[in-house]
């Protein structure tokens, strides 16, 4: 009969197995600690990643919109809520004359309004491929052909029909490119040329759809996007535009970013606070459970000492138990948190109303590793005090106590 050797590992495993309720409780506590930390970290990382993505996707330094519509721009960018507003395309020419302005491009928004529950409307955005510097840099990451009339480019979360087309007002439009995911409202938009937009407006009228839009695609635009020369201050130029051009509002994209950044900081501080409280409580619970049970096992440890176990060996057994508890609890915690944070990523994002983009796999692995180290540390710290105390106690006295 070959039996497995009674290594420290096996002794620790056996100890855990013989007290299933206590072991299960310890697993549960570590699992809770881990899932709070892991879930919170993924949330925070996704929010920061989303903000970064928004920042790089914004492209323009200043946005010019009809007066009174500055809040609507944020809505479109972040929440993809529809808005239709227009002003004269000539404004772009006036803006070009201002010193410090480097590039100017305009976009025309059309979002069909619909009141029934299920239509999350897809904003349709017409852009000028020749002056555009916002969308095409992101397209070339997917396809290389320039867009033609009658074709569409879709944001990452717009799902096409089986034949890779979209249907609008009874007409089918082929999709020629997909854009990279940003975690913002831009993901739900569709991009077309001006001529395609004209056709869409005609079709909409034919089917009687309510689109509330200015029909004059040639002469109206919804927003003008400006890239300025790096040597100039975007805020000063924005002010100059407001002075020189009547009835417009300017939005400096830095402001959008810093607004969101502030909301993010508030949310993050809540997450950090909750995580810290949970960890302090959890560590206390583990400390108490380990101390109490180690006390009960004084006789067991005395027997080990009588049989010739060194103090080091006793400490090793206790630390191995704590290590095993940490590892298993960690795995359970990560699985549980992953079941919430990853599959429901889009739901979280839409509830938070903030840019939200899951971080790279390498970041996720780093977070897993960090939480593993933390839970092992907490386990060791909680058990080491009791372990050392036990191993120092005079075995003889301990045995006598047990009599």
């Amino acid at each position: 009969m070959i039996l497995k050797p009674l290594t420290t590992f096996r002794l620790s495993m056996n100890n855990l197995r013989q007290k299933p309720f206590r072991t299960a409780c310890l697993f549960a506590v570590v699992a809770i600690l881990t899932s709070v930390f892991f879930g919170g970290s993924i949330l925070t990382a996704s929010l920061e990643n989303g903000l970064y993505s928004l920042q790089s996707r914004l492209g323009a330094d200043i946005m010019v919109v009809p007066e009174g519509n500055d809040t609507n721009v944020e809505d479109i960018l972040i929440k993809a809520e529809p808005s239709n507003f227009y002003f004269s395309a000539n404004i772009a020419d006036e803006i070009k004359k201002i010193e410090g302005v480097d590039k100017v491009t305009a976009q025309f928004f059309m979002t069909p309004l619909s009141s029934a529950c299920c239509s999350i409307v897809i904003p349709i955005i017409a852009f000028d491929p020749e002056t555009d510097f916002l969308i095409q840099p992101w397209i070339t990451k997917v396809y290389n052909d320039p867009i033609k009339d009658g074709e569409m480019i879709t944001g990452s979360s717009v799902l096409p029909l089986e034949d890779n087309t979209l249907m609008f007002f009874n007409k089918s439009y082929p999709i020629i490119a997909n854009l990279k995911r940003t975690g913002t409202g831009l993901d739900g938009s569709v991009y077309v040329t001006k001529d395609t937009m004209k056709q869409l407006i005609i079709d909409a009228k034919e089917v009687g759809a309510d689109i509330s839009t200015d029909e004059n695609v040639e002469e109206s635009v919804s927003a003008i996007f400006i890239k300025i020369d790096p040597a100039y201050d975007s805020r000063l130029i924005a002010r100059e535009i407001k002075q020189k051009v009547p009835n417009v509002d300017t939005i400096v994209s830095q402001h959008i970013v810093s607004n969101i950044s502030n909301s993010l900081k508030v949310l993050e501080s809540y997450i950090h606070l909750i995580t810290a409280v949970v960890w302090i409580l959890g560590a206390l619970v583990i400390l108490i459970v380990f101390s109490v049970t180690l006390n009960e096992r004084k006789k067991e440890f005395a027997i080990f000492r009588i049989l010739g176990a060194t103090r080091k060996k006793l400490v090793a057994i206790v630390l191995t138990e704590s290590f095993l508890v940490s590892i298993v609890g960690e795995i359970i915690g990560i699985i549980l948190a992953s079941l919430v944070v990853f599959p429901f990523s889009d739901l979280i994002s839409s509830k938070l109303q903030l840019p939200y983009l899951q971080p790279q796999n390498s970041s996720i692995l780093a977070i897993i590793a960090l939480s593993l180290i933390l839970s092992i540390l907490v386990g060791i710290l909680a058990s080491i005090y009791g372990a050392l105390k036990i191993s120092k106690a005079e075995t003889y006295l301990t045995m006598r106590e047990g009599e």
Binding site: S114, L159, G208
Partner: protein, 155 residues
């Protein structure tokens, strides 16, 4: 004894979640809203809706039935003592779980529009719940099978 209670509680909970999730927790389109015919016709014309009642609605209906079935299997699992019968019930639950998994993913599906609750909430939830049913019942089958073998050997 412990296995009986644990497995049946898990099945009852998961079954209820599968049945009620698409209706109460992550409501699919059309389950609650009262849509007038006029609005629906308008939407169809706009091309914004593909058919009269959306896929997620039917998925929710189907999952309601399957979820209740799984919960009932859970109750039966608690009542019946025989290990063999419980193995059979678990196999039945596994198959139901597979169906519950396939319906929102391939057999019927949910709305194609990104950002809709059925895609971002109901679909992942149903996938997770039905997978859990499959995993828990598979483990249960192996556990009961080994238990039975041990009993037969000791008899």
């Amino acid at each position: 004894m412990k296995n009986r209670i644990l497995t049946s509680i898990i099945l009852i909970i998961l079954g209820s979640l599968i049945a009620l999730g698409p209706i109460v927790i992550f409501p699919v389109c059309g389950i609650h809203a009262e849509e007038t015919e006029h609005e629906m016709a308008k939407e169809i014309q706009e091309g914004a809706m593909q058919q009269a009642k959306m896929k997620c609605f039917w998925t929710a209906r189907a999952e309601l039935g399957i979820g209740i079935l799984i919960a009932i299997l859970g109750v039966l699992h608690f009542i019946l003592k025989s290990e063999q019968l419980r193995i059979g019930l678990s196999i039945g639950a596994i198959l139901n779980g597979v169906l519950a998994l396939l319906i929102p993913n391939t057999l019927i599906g949910v709305c194609r529009k990104a950002g809709m609750m059925c895609r971002i909430g109901t679909l992942p939830a149903l996938t997770i719940f039905s997978s859990l049913v499959i995993i828990v019942c598979t483990v249960n089958v192996f556990y009961l099978y080994r238990l039975r073998k041990k009993d037969l050997m000791n008899a």
